[in-house]
């Protein structure tokens, strides 16, 4: 095939172009022609198709995501907001923390190991591109039914990919989630979060400015993997009859990424770059157009200088390739030599592929002939925006009317005991250590807390003990019942988890996993969830710093549960004050904080015992969440509690079981007067936590809760080697441990 140059495009306005195969709609193609005043060249068409994909352009979600900016709370901590590679938050002492959660859902279903591995790689480069040293990762994961044969294909591959890539980068994996639900059978959710730390003055942005500055591509060579990953894979519904999409999945090399991290950090230390961008989804198309779009000038790129793994690649393929472990930097001419020396030191290939111009166009050449001549903003930032129709689904009322309160409850104490064991052994409530033990949580030597703690916590300054904590949460069952409340409950749980470990919540990132935006019911779920999240963030004072939207998570007509995953970042001045979940000292008093109401809609109990999903999720009271968080943080700071555990899915009994097993101590529990034992143990009312208070602190702690108006009921004491719910049943820890820990290995090992 002859080269489709700009000149050729001008001369042949009427030839057919494969816009539909590249995922573009007719009106989008017409719009490209209108922007350019001619038909696009093959290379231009490739660029627009990937950059205008749902994954890159957020064209269906943008109108709703705007609320995160419009409703953003006043917050001095936010240094860089939405729109950059990742948001940046001031955590004090001159430090800034950047964090973000992203999806790699579709690739991980097709090819679990590489899909999950490159998900880690991509988010780590996003964090690195902000100027930060990556310090930890987390993985919120969702799979189909635990006993489904395909889960046994997908989950071990995903876990091995996360471990194989993340462990090799030297990043501790300190938290996340593993959830099973048949709604994710053909659409597992593989989200990945990375946290990075830098000093304020080290923040870098993705922009190309200064005519004459060099554009340097460095890292791995470009190959044929991942071509069209964002447009073909991430932006369409799976069709069971479709052709194999495996070649669209990228292949990762963590060793190369580790070199890229160390090389880039050394380049930052010597202040050698003006602007920097990682290459992820949409590869060079994205990096060049975004850098040029955000900067002050144009850019000229000699595409034939790009180092290739496969010399037969066409210019279109080079522009679309999503080969991993690549970065693009803008460097002043006088600093290029030093930049190259550092790359050589780390055995990283680096090539000057172009320069910043004083024009306004992004121009790309192939052996001297021009194949791209576009205004970069039209590619990167001014893609199509859709106001997709949305409507509350007609089944929503019936779902909410199907109240969980009517489900049969245990009639006897023996039945209650049996149900407790069954819930605690169920795949969602069982210990995930078989999975998390495949991740390195110790590397870097700064891990203060890691799974199964409420949040992951790392120290960021060895001298002052300053630290940060992050938790990720989401509950698709709640969000299915009420997407507005479900998103707020995800936010509240994550916020509560951070506070329970003693850190002050500062800001959030999110990963919004939904079905097809072309379905008005799904779009309604999305609109409701984003509205709920934006309202919730405003009330809690935690701004959204960025995040990711993953749509088209559906197979045929069936969408996943709407699954907004929320990551809350908190700061703790002295990690020595952190609060673990373990009940480590017999004699400590157990207090239940918050109000326990009869709330079973969407609960773990209703799922495990009755396979039921209906009614309303627990009521949201963000004012109460704030108060609870303040109490938990103050108690941690002043040494009033020895352990704290948030209450969420599975209710009080789940939290007690986890804290007892973690500490190796039992608990004697007294059901408070007027309260039903079943409701006490299984209700999932929000805004609650259980804490272990040393006797010496009881008065002070009780006074603080009383003065602040937070309900705090003494429910028992840490003691013995069993959980003894007095008047009901006893559960020896050994029996509990067996139930809790045997499930996942039995299903998956």
């Amino acid at each position: 095939m002859s080269l489709d140059t700009v000149k050729h495009a001008n001369e042949t306005p009427d030839i057919d172009q494969p816009w539909a195969e590249l995922g573009l709609k007719q009106d989008e193609y017409e719009r490209i022609r209108a922007i350019l005043g001619r038909r696009p060249t093959g290379a231009e068409l490739a660029m627009y198709s990937v950059m205008w994909s749902e994954h890159c352009s957020y064209k269906s979600s943008k109108v709703h995501l705007r609320q995160f900016g419009e409703k953003a709370p006043e917050n001095d901590a936010l240094l860089v907001g939405i729109g950059e590679n990742a948001g940046v938050v001031d955590v004090g002492q001159g430090y800034a923390v950047t964090f973000k959660v992203e999806s790699h859902n579709h690739p991980s279903y097709i090819e679990p190991y590489q899909g999950a591995a490159t998900g880690i790689g991509g988010i780590v480069r996003d964090i690195l591109a902000m100027g930060a040293r990556p310090v930890a990762v987390m993985d919120p994961l969702r799979f189909g039914a635990a006993d489904h044969p395909d889960t046994k294909r997908v989950l071990p591959g995903v876990v091995a990919g996360i471990g194989g890539y993340g462990n090799c980068l030297g990043l501790p994996n300190i938290g996340g989630e593993v959830v099973f639900d048949s709604c994710y059978q053909g659409n597992p959710l593989v989200n990945a979060l990375c946290i990075g730390v830098m000093k304020h003055e080290d923040i870098h942005l993705a922009k190309a400015s200064g005519a004459g500055n060099k554009v340097i591509l460095y890292g791995a060579r470009t190959g044929g993997d991942g071509i069209g990953g964002v447009s073909v894979l991430a932006s369409e519904t799976f069709d069971s009859t479709g052709p194999a999409k495996r070649p669209a999945v990228q292949v990762g090399d963590p060793f190369q990424e580790k070199l890229l991290i160390e090389c880039t950090l050394e380049i930052f230390r010597e202040d050698l770059v003006d602007g920097i961008q990682d290459l992820g989804g949409a590869g060079l198309s994205c990096a060049t157009s975004e850098l040029a779009s955000a900067g002050s000038g144009g850019m000229r790129v000699e595409l034939d200088t790009v180092p290739l793994r496969d010399s037969s690649l066409s210019p279109e393929e080079i522009l679309m390739s999503e080969s991993q472990e690549r970065m693009c930097a803008v460097v002043e001419p006088g600093k290029v030599d030093r930049f190259m020396e550092i790359c050589e030191k780390w055995d990283v290939i680096a090539t000057v592929i172009g320069e910043v111009t004083d024009g306004e166009r992004l121009e790309i050449f192939w052996h001297g002939e021009q194949i791209v001549d576009v205004p970069p903003r039209t590619v990167a930032h001014e893609g199509p925006v859709y106001e997709r129709p949305y409507a509350r689904p007609d089944w929503q009322d019936a779902l909410q009317a199907d109240d969980a309160a009517k489900l049969a409850r245990p009639a006897t104490a023996e039945e209650l005991r049996a149900q407790v064991l069954k819930v605690i052994a169920s795949p969602n409530q069982a210990s995930k250590s078989w999975i998390t033990d495949q991740y390195d949580r110790f590397v870097q030597g700064n891990t203060v807390l890691a799974q199964p703690e409420d949040s992951g916590m790392v120290r960021i300054d060895e001298d002052t003990n300053l630290g940060v904590a992050v938790a990720t949460d989401g509950n698709g069952r709640y969000a299915k019942l009420d997407p507005y409340a479900g998103a707020q409950l995800a936010l509240a749980e994550s916020y509560r988890n951070v506070a329970a470990s003693g850190a002050r919540p500062l800001a959030i990132s999110n990963c919004l996993n939904f079905g097809s935006p072309e379905d008005p019911a799904v779009m309604w779920q999305f609109a409701e969830a984003t509205r709920g999240l934006a309202d919730g963030c405003l009330e809690l004072g935690t701004p959204v710093t960025g995040g990711n939207v993953s749509l088209y998570n559906q197979t045929g007509e069936t969408a996943i549960h709407p699954t907004p995953v929320v990551a809350v970042l908190g700061v703790i001045d002295d990690v020595d004050r952190r609060t673990p979940i373990a009940f480590s000292e017999p004699g400590h008093l157990l207090y239940l904080l918050g109000d326990t109401k009869e709330e079973l809609g969407g609960s773990a109990w209703s799922q495990v015992i009755h396979e039921h999903l209906g009614g309303l999720p627990p009521a949201v009271d963000l004012g109460r969440e704030k108060l609870l968080a303040e109490i938990l943080i103050a108690a941690s700071r002043d040494g009033m509690v020895d352990a704290a555990h948030d209450l969420s899915d599975g209710g009080l009994i789940q939290a007690l079981a986890e804290s007892c097993l973690r500490g190796g101590n039992g608990a004697r529990i007294v059901v408070p007067d007027g309260m039903d034992a079943f409701v006490l143990l299984f209700s999932e009312s929000a805004g609650r936590a259980v804490v272990a208070v040393p006797r010496s602190e009881e008065l002070r702690f009780g006074d603080m809760c009383g003065a602040r108006g937070l309900p705090a009921i003494r429910i028992g004491v840490v003691d013995g080697e069993e959980i003894d719910v007095q008047g009901q049943f006893t559960l020896p820890l050994a029996e509990l441990r067996e139930a809790h820990e045997a499930t996942i290995p039995a299903l998956l090992a």
Partner: protein, 226 residues
């Protein structure tokens, strides 16, 4: 006075900064050493830290063994300089034949990260003198290629000469023959083990135990009193 402990960074090394910190906490001066550099900067001892040097491509430790820095390390180790290889560093030491045997993929084929109890079998090496023989310690273990193997004769010889330095307790985590977690050379100056003492040196971090600090205080005493 104190002593200088070199910590080697290969491409793909992960625990170099952690090891430098552990060396510092024990009261020693950490000296970063670069794989391309034959100059050991007059250090008194060397640690080869964990990680995936050269991506563990070909075989864990197989490429690092040929790096310029290792030429000097091998020469000095033969002359009696204390050398500690942790995890990937242990793999490098077996590749250099400073220590016998080899490491294979874990018998369950998964990466495993957990707190691991060990028994100190030999408290007379350069790196274990601050422990007592028979003492039980708990430090993190994290690897995928951690199954120690050697032929029967070598294993018998290691045991007969007291060169098994650590054994796994509470279940063998990877299928290592005779539960071997770490070994030493005949002179006792070169020690290699799979678990990570450098991750257990601060009460607040990681496992919350400081059972690994003894490696570094042992070498401090040896070097400073020498």
């Amino acid at each position: 006075m104190t002593a200088r402990v070199g910590v080697v960074t290969f491409p793909g090394t992960l625990d170099d900064r952690d090891t430098q910190r552990a060396v510092r906490i024990a009261g020693l001066d950490p000296v970063p050493l670069w794989h391309r550099d034959k100059d050991l900067k007059q250090v008194d001892a060397v640690v080869l830290p964990g990680g995936f040097s050269y991506g563990d491509y070909l075989r864990a430790g197989a490429i690092s063994r040929f790096s310029p820095v290792m030429e000097s390390v091998i020469e000095q180790a033969r002359g009696g300089m204390p050398v500690l290889g942790i995890c990937n560093g242990f793999q490098v030491l077996t590749e250099t034949h400073l220590l016998p045997g080899a490491m294979l993929r874990n018998n369950h084929l998964h990466f495993i990260c957990r707190e691991q109890r060990l028994r100190v079998e030999n408290a007379a090496t350069a790196w274990t003198s601050d422990y007592e023989a028979g003492q039980e310690i708990s430090i993190p273990l994290k690897n995928i290629d951690g199954r120690y193997v050697a032929d029967e004769r070598t294993l018998d010889k290691l045991e007969a000469e007291g060169r098994v330095v650590f054994r796994y307790l509470d279940g063998n985590p990877n299928g290592s023959l005779r539960d071997i977690a770490g070994i030493t050379n005949a002179a006792g100056n070169v020690v290699g083990l799979m678990p990570h003492p450098e991750h257990a040196v601060e009460p607040l971090i990681g496992t919350g135990r400081t059972d690994g600090l003894g490696f570094f205080t042992s070498i401090l005493k040896k070097l400073v009193n020498a």
